[in-house]
Amino acid sequence: MEYTKKVMELFKHPKHVGEIKNADGIGIIGNPTCGDEMHVYIKVKENKIKKIRYKTFGCVSAIASSEAMCTLAKNKTLEQAEKITDKDIANYLGGLPKIKYHCSILGHEALKKAIENYKSKRTKK
C-alpha cells in the first residue's frame, strides 16, 4: 500500500488535533469495531467555520483525511463547507489507495454531521 507524500506529511504533522469546549457543532462518525472513529468540533461565527478540530481513532489515511477535511473547511461559510465532498478530500491528499477511499467519506460525513448538529441547535434556540 502506497500513500502519497501529502498523506504522510499530514499524518506525521497533524495541526488540527483537539477538542473545542463549548463547540457550536459536533459530528461523530464510525466506530472502533470497524477500525475508524472520527469526532469533529466546529466553532461558527457569522456563518463561517472559525475554528475546527478533530479526534480520530484510525489508520494513516483516516488521520490524514481528518486533517484534509479541517484544512478545507476552515474559514469557509457553512454553505461552502457543506459542499466539500469525499472527492475533494481525496484530491487534497493527492489520492488515496482504493481500499482506503472510505476514509475520505468518513471525513466528509463527520463534517456534514457537525454542521447539521450546529443547525439543529440553532433552530431549537
Binding site: M1, Y3, M8, F11, K12, P14, V17, I28, P32, T33, C34, G35, D36, E37, M38, H39, K55, T56, F57, G58, C59, V60, A62, I63, I99, K100
Partner: protein, 385 residues
Amino acid sequence: MKIYLDNAATTQPAKEVIKEIDRIQNKIYGNASSLHSFGKEAKRELEKARTIIAKKINARPEEIIFTSGGSESDNLALQGYALANKNKGNHIITTIIEHQAILNTCKALSPQGFKIDYLSINNEGTINLKELEKKITKHTILISVMHANNEIGTVQNLKAIGKICKKHKIAFHTDAVQSFTKVPIDVKKMNLDLASLSAHKIHGPKGVGALYVKKGIKLNKLIYGGLQENNLRSGTENIAGITGFAKASTLNPKMKEITNLRNYMIQKILKEISNSHLNGSLKQRLCNNINIRFDFVEGESILFLLNENGIAVSTGSACSTHTLKPSYVLLALGLKHEQVHGSIRFTLSKYTTKKEIDYTIKHLKIIIKKLRRISPLTKWNTQKK
C-alpha cells in the same frame, strides 16, 4: 538506524548461508539428474543437504522432499494426502489459526467432497485436545495442526496430538514453518506423518522448503514432470537454495539469548506503556514472538510511525491488509475488533540487539502517546478509571 523486527515474515540470510549458496552457484551448476561428473557432484550436494535436514527432525533422508517453500509443502501435504486417500474417508480436522496456506487449501478441498472441521483455541492460543478427540469420526483421514503460530507464537503440544492420531490411526500433519530450529521437532516422538518446513524463516534463502513424508504415506503429486524428489515433486532441484537451507538449519539458533531479549522487551513495554497487553500465552510461546495490543490506537498508524524511525514490525489491524479484515488469529483468541486493530507483532532474531530493543521502545512510547492524543477513545476510557 534500521531495525528489523519482522522475522516471522522473513529473515535476513546468514553470512554462512550466502557463502554456501555462492559456492554452489559458482562451482556446482550441474543438474542432479545428469549422469556425468557435473550431475554427480550436484547430486552429492543435494543428498548431503537432505541428510542434514532429515537429522534435524529425526527422520530418514529418503523421507525429505524438497519444495519451493512452506506454502507448497502445506499444499502437497493436504491436497496430496486427501486425494490419495479418498477411499479411506473424506474428513479432515485442522485449526482456525492455521496459516492461509492450510486454510485456503482446505477451502479448495471442500468442493471436492472433503468435510473440514476447524478447532478453536482458548484465550492463551492453544487447542483443546478433548475437542479434537470429539471431532474425530470414522471418516477422519487427516489431522493438521500447526506447531507454532505465526502471529502469536503459541506452540501446540504435538506429542499429545500425535498420540491421539496414533490411537485413532489417523495421519498427522504439522506446519512447522515457524518453529523449525526454534522448538525441537522429533517426527518419531511426535508420531508425525507429514511436516512442512521453510528455509527463509531460519536465515536461509527464499523459495526453498521441505516436506517430511513418513515412509509408507501415500501422496498425490501436484507437479508432474521428470520424476524428481522420489517422484513426488518434479522439476530440476534448486541445489543452491537447498544447500543454503541445510546450512541455515545447522547454525546456532541462539534460542536462550533470543528468549531473554524477548522477555526483556515484553516486560519493559508492559511496564512503561500503560494500557498495553500481551496477546497469547507467555509460557507456550516461540522464543522470538511478541504480540502486544495498545488500547485506544490503531495498528497501521503505529506501524507507519515506527517505520518512519526505521523500525519494521507488522500488525493484526484490518487497515493494513488487502481485504480490510482484522487478524483471524487474534479474533480467535477472543479479542474484540478494536483490540485486534491496536495489535502489533514484533518478531526478533538472533541478530537483534538489546540496543535495538531499547531504541524501539523509546520510539514506541512517543508514538503511542502521540496517537492517543489524536484518538477520541483515550479520554473516555481513562475517565472511566
